[in-house]
């Protein structure tokens, strides 16, 4: 279109203008350097972007940043109990920067609190601890039937296990075994190995008078903290200040085994293991089967064979197990319609 090529000369390239100190070759070098720097930075940015997107969509393991306050815990437990740390690194808590102390930190004066290489912690994490972050969920759980699951142990529902089958009266064996002579039957095996495995138990701490202290003795107030200071003073503690969970009281589990159930009586009810928490794991029907199975309440077995159970297993791969939401008919199905309606 332009017929005279000289018309295309710019101010920059016009021959009769004063010679610039900067040559075109130098400018070419500047362009090459900055373009290369830009492209390298673009590669770095895209690498970060792609990694972030892969983590968001669940296609890559998320990068875990150990919070500063929990670094010492993680460093030490990597040596002593690496499995515990591995569970934590696989949890949503780890992804969101929630470390050990956020859940395990205890206030001075709490019955199960003890000094542990500096921090004052409690092994058992109760819904009161969860409520520090998940206030709404803890309040909802507190109102639920699940929260009162432990109460069954003091109800007539437990009559069969503890009274009918659980004979603790005098017995007269025909041929007592030498060294193992006893006059009373325990009779609590059904309750211990049955009901209490799901419905939980009150955590028992050794008392200085030789007895057992439970939540009933501490008389917790509305905030879950003990109001009976005398009972607190009677807790037997070791040289580290750690209270000793009773191994002697029948029907009372050790603190270490206390996280086997979500249905514990408040406030000594431990939560499910938050160190392993992931939405897709919590959404498996097997979680319900932890309690809702067996001859007394066979809901899980009924569900497994029902149309709903069969459909759930069949359509599991289509469900949004990792989603933040879990809406029936949209993210998952009860077997009546597809989890993801075709758009």
């Amino acid at each position: 279109m332009h017929e005279n090529n000289s018309a295309s000369l710019t101010e920059a390239t016009r021959p009769n203008r004063k010679e610039s100190s900067m040559t075109l070759e130098f400018k070419r070098g500047v362009i090459a350097f900055l373009s290369a720097a830009f492209l390298v930075s673009l590669l770095f940015v895209q690498w970060r972007e792609v990694s972030r997107r892969a983590e968001e969509s669940g296609h890559a393991k998320p990068h875990i940043n150990v919070p500063a306050a929990s670094k010492a815990c993680v460093d030490c437990h990597l040596q002593s109990t690496p499995g515990l740390v591995a569970h934590w690194t696989g949890s949503k808590h780890a992804e969101r920067g929630v470390g050990c102390l956020e859940c395990h930190e205890a206030q001075k004066g709490e019955v199960d609190g003890f000094d542990h290489y500096g921090p004052h912690i409690a092994t058992v994490v109760t819904p009161s601890d969860c409520a520090r972050c998940h206030a709404d969920v803890a309040a909802e759980f507190g109102r639920s039937h699940h929260a009162k699951g432990g109460n069954i142990l003091a109800s007539l529902d437990n009559f069969l296990a503890e009274v009918v089958e659980g004979n603790r009266g005098p017995i007269a064996l025909n041929s007592p075994t030498p060294g193992r002579a006893f006059e009373h039957a325990n009779g609590m095996s059904s309750a211990n190995t049955g009901c209490q495995q799901c419905h939980g138990a009150k955590v028992g701490l050794e008392s200085s008078d030789g007895g057992i202290l439970t939540v009933d003795d501490f008389k917790p107030g509305p905030d879950g903290k003990p109001t009976n200071i005398d009972a607190v003073a009677r807790i037997v503690k070791d040289q580290n200040g750690k209270s000793a969970a009773s191994q002697r009281a029948p029907g009372r589990t050790r603190a270490s085994g206390a996280s086997t159930s979500m249905a514990r009586s408040a406030p000594a009810r431990p939560a499910t293991a938050a160190t392993t928490s992931r939405p897709r794991r919590a959404r498996q029907p097997e979680n319900c089967g932890k309690c809702h199975l067996g001859p007394d309440h066979p809901q899980k077995e009924i569900y497994e064979e029902s149309k709903h159970g069969v459909a759930f297993r069949d359509l599991l791969h289509e469900m949004n197990l990792d989603g933040d939401e879990w809406v029936l008919g949209k993210d998952y199905t009860a077997g009546l319609r597809p989890a993801r309606p075709a758009t």
Binding site: R48, G97, G323
Partner: protein
Amino acid sequence: VSLSPLTWIRERVPVGPEQLRELTNEPVPNHLKKWWWCLGGTPAYLFVVQIVTGILLAFYYKPSPQTAYESVRYITEQASFGWFLRGLHKWAATMMVAAVVLHQMRIFFTGAYRKPRELNWLVGMCLLLLTLIVGFTGYSLVYEQLSYWGATVGANITDSVPVVGVYLKELLLGGEVYNENTLSRFFILHAAVLPATMAALIALHVTLIRLQGVTEFHFRDEDRKKPAFFNFFPDHLLTELSIGLVLMVLLSVLATVLPAEMGPKADPLSTPEVIKPEWFFYVAFRWLKLFSGTLAVLSMGLIVFLMYAWPFIDARIRKSRPESEASVWIGIAGALAIIALTVWEASVAH
């Protein structure tokens, strides 16, 4: 009398081979024999890729908060080659921004914006801003957590512009806050208004280049006895086609190896822990964190204004000091600052 189809057409469209040759036989300066000087056509090529893939994606996309995310998921997971088209669209957008930046750097450092090409610089600046805005609206359409909150943050930034900010925000969102009508507004902007404006500006950009010719560069090692120009057709056209083919291969590889993912669906009630815009806004995002509020927005506005006005500012400088190369040093500082702020924002979570 029977006429051949060609004759029939030529009677109605009086353009023959001679006219076509005249139209395409633009003399092209010798430096364009090197492919790295030919990247000006790259954004235009990627623009065409975006139009084609965008039309195909729009067949399935449904712009409303209830349907947007599911329709994108349908494209990604169920529609035939939907994942590939989405990947092409995503990566072509990234490469288009990069190509525009590289092209503009070349123009800036060689002073190709100077008289008589100031108007074309202004058109190019408009195309740069439109490319960024079309990227922003496209990112928002997916209705993921980050795209939703990115749009919300973007609207709030607009709000902090003094006097007109509140109106601009309402214009963008179709209300005071993100609402039912926002997505359809973004969609119309992204798929119709902005591309049509860009197409018109690209036509104007190319027309001005044709009228003024490509800026000539004469390097010292150049043989002055040889012709300074070569033919557009077929020599330069073949270079452009080769670049286009390489781009297509690169795009296909990126879309296949690193396909576009689905993040969590937007939840207006839950602010994500980390909010990140698309990468090409990292520089502005970091700037906003450094100088929060109105100061950051006003200073960014001033920088954009200076970029627009640079040909005229540069002319004033060179009028008083003809040998001045201040623009090169300012350009180096600006480019390094943009790279540093972008890398900084990419390196940190917050």
